[in-house]
């Protein structure tokens, strides 16, 4: 290890692993080190034993929970959108071949204290209790409008200028109630608060379109086709939700990118608790690890390796629950997301419930994992989660954690320390991948061309 590298990467979180995979593919010599003895850093999926080590040091997990190795508990739970950027990166790097995904059973939204499935097709929409009959008609004309809308084709604008009019105005135009607005803005547009209402409607309309395209992969330029293989039955219909989740948990993602890096010659060292960044005149020049040193042109890593060069920008509170049943009122779903829009709970930020089961190889037989998370607004984090916890029903075991979200003070151009931003409460992959692409740009001075493998481009 006393060698010279192009890049040394610290921490094996998803972001760091994507970076080292990309740099290795670019023929850079990469050394990748983690202080832990497992992959994933902040975004690891932990076994039961590891979970207890973290939250209940000195305690053994009860036998009733089953074998430790059956568990892969995500520390940063997220689902991926079938048409999203992360999937694009997985395809671009071909890392997708190391992974196996399952469709998420359903996406739900809280309205007036009850949860409702976000409809995935016409007949679900008709049956949905989200809206009354007349409201459904109005909503339908809104969705038809959104679906047909093409930015480049003024005919489809029907006289509305979405660059000018706000989303609130567009809702008004279609005469939609506040509850419907909540559902469209938060469950389909994936907004985290209501700031979007006063912004031009175009952005939200495009997001709702994307949601729809993820669901049906139809749409113009529908670049991604998801083949769904049911055991015997080959379904070509739309999915039940536009979300995907990997078997064995999200911790598979960093591992798959680490594999990519290793295939291209990257060197991996786990379980190095003493590793530290080495600076000369304030510039990162490599790492120290006990008596060993390794030099590099630059150092990449997560905030925990760069004390003094990052600041805390927020806090996320997250509850992890182990249950022996699905979340009530979700049609016995094995995987589900519930969005609790801020207005419905009287908060300033949305709350998210994420649930997956043994069916995804993340828990022991007949066990479910549920996560409730939000951006912390008070000094009583547990109480803040109560609206989400109330949806879960009885839980066998519960762990609560508050995490700082850190971001780098500088962009790395001067100190050659390229630091990733912590995983935000949103837990969606959009910001994750954007941060990675931005780091890649800062490190290499060029953009990663994700369109290279886009069939729409190849055809053109």
């Amino acid at each position: 290890m006393n060698e010279e590298y192009d890049a040394i990467v610290l921490g094996t979180g998803l972001k760091e692993c994507i970076i080292s995979g990309l740099l290795s593919v670019d023929k850079k010599k990469v050394l990748h080190i983690d202080r832990n003895n497992y992959y994933g850093g902040e975004s690891a999926s932990l076994s039961l034993t590891q979970l207890y080590e973290r939250f209940r040091a000195g305690q053994q997990p009860p036998a009733s929970l089953g074998a430790s190795r059956d568990y892969n508990v995500d520390m940063v739970p997220k689902f991926m959108m079938a048409n999203g950027k992360l999937v694009r990166v997985l395809l671009h790097t071909d890392v997708v071949k190391y992974l196996e995904f399952k469709a998420v059973d359903g996406s739900y939204v809280l309205q007036k204290g009850k949860i409702h499935k976000v409809p995935a097709n016409d007949s679900e929409a008709l049956r949905s209790g989200l809206m009354g009959l007349f409201e459904k008609r109005r909503a339908r004309s809104f969705f038809l409008y959104v679906q047909d809308y093409e930015e480049a084709d003024p005919k489809t604008h029907k006289g509305l200028d979405l660059r000018r009019m706000t989303m609130a105005d567009l809702y008004k135009h279609f005469d939609l109630t506040e509850d419907t607005q909540d559902f469209i803005g938060h469950a389909l547009g994936l907004h985290r608060d209501d700031a979007y209402l006063t912004q031009p409607a175009l952005a939200t309309v495009l997001k709702v379109k994307l949601y729809h395209e993820s669901l049906f992969r139809g749409g113009r330029g529908g670049v991604l086709k998801v083949k769904l293989y049911h055991e015997s039955l080959f379904r070509y219909e739309g999915l039940n939700s536009p979300y995907l989740y990997p078997r064995y948990g999200l911790g598979e993602l960093p591992q798959a990118f680490a594999r990519l890096s290793a295939v291209y010659g990257g060197t991996y060292m786990l379980n190095q608790p003493g590793v530290e960044v080495m600076y000369e005149n304030g510039v990162a020049v490599g790492i120290k690890n006990g008596a060993d040193t390794a030099r590099s042109k630059l150092v990449v890593g997560d905030p925990s390796y760069f004390a003094g060069r990052v600041r805390v920008v927020g806090k996320v509170v997250r509850a992890i629950a182990i249950m022996n049943h699905p979340i009530p009122n979700t049609d016995n779903a094995h995987s589900v997301q519930i969005i609790l829009p801020q207005k419905q709970t009287g908060r300033k930020s949305d709350m998210y419930v994420f649930c997956c089961s043994y069916a995804h190889n993340v828990a022991s037989k007949d066990k479910w994992l549920a996560f409730v998370s939000t951006t912390m607004e008070t000094s009583n984090p547990e109480a803040e989660l109560s609206a989400g916890m109330a949806l879960l029903g009885p839980v066998e075991e519960k762990f609560i954690e508050v995490r700082d979200i850190c971001e780098p003070l500088e962009d790395g151009s001067k100190d050659k320390a390229y630091i990733s931003t912590g995983y935000d409460a949103t837990t969606h992959f959009e910001t994750t991948v954007e941060d990675v692409l931005d780091m890649y740009r800062r490190i290499t001075g060029r953009d990663l061309d994700l369109t290279a493998k886009d069939p729409a481009q190849v055809e053109a």
Binding site: A103, G222, K225, G238, L244, Q255, R259, L270
Partner: protein
């Protein structure tokens, strides 16, 4: 493609583990392509190969591990979900045998409990340099419930036998662990557009 055919064929993930230079890649290459190279490059490339055994209706997805193992930082991803593992050591190297034992321990702790594990004492053609006796390895294998063979990727001795015996030992699809309720998804880019439009949200 006939769905029935697909349904009957069993796909099994097979992973090879073992000290650098013990001959993992050579065993796979011998088995899949019938080749052997005296100067086999240390593995950095090939992610995996596949081989179908029509008689047994098994398709092996073979994961040859590489690079990372230098520092024993192999991702559990490799052996997670594997139906079988071949742990390879070099009969001329006691260190490689020690390493093999530590792999066995890791798999016993972390791996799929129904995983078929085979221990392969490779480079059996180098009898004159032997440093690990067959008796010692055999006893260790018996103690730990491993299928044990001495192989040579160079002469091809016992190579087909090794893989075929594993294929035979695989639990039959019906008897295998119940599949989770929903099928998996294969993500692929596909130029065939699906012109499906729907009128709902």
């Amino acid at each position: 493609m006939a769905m029935a055919e697909l349904a009957q064929q069993q796909t099994a993930k097979l992973v090879l583990l073992g000290e650098m230079g013990s001959g993992k890649s050579s065993l796979v290459l011998r088995y899949v392509k019938g080749q052997f190279f005296d100067y086999q490059a240390s593995t950095v490339g090939a992610a995996f190969l596949t081989k179908t055994l029509p008689e047994l209706n098994v398709k092996f997805e073979i994961w040859d591990t590489a690079g990372q193992e230098r520092y024993h930082s192999l991702a559990p991803m490799y052996y997670r979900g594997a139906a079988a593992a071949i742990i390879v050591y070099d009969i001329t190297s006691p260190d490689s045998f020690t390493r093999a034992k530590s792999w066995v321990r890791e798999l016993q702790r972390q791996g799929n409990p129904n995983m078929i594990m085979a221990l392969a004492g490779n480079k059996a053609d180098l009898e004159s340099q032997r440093a690990v006796t067959a008796e010692e390895a055999q006893a260790y294998a018996a103690e730990n419930g491993l299928y044990y063979l001495e192989t040579s990727a160079k002469t091809a001795a016992n190579v087909n036998e090794l893989f075929e015996e594993i294929a035979r030992k695989l639990p039959k699809p019906e008897a295998a662990a119940p599949r989770p309720p929903q099928g998996g998804i294969v993500l692929s880019e596909d130029t065939q557009r699906q012109a499906k439009r729907s009128t709902c949200c």
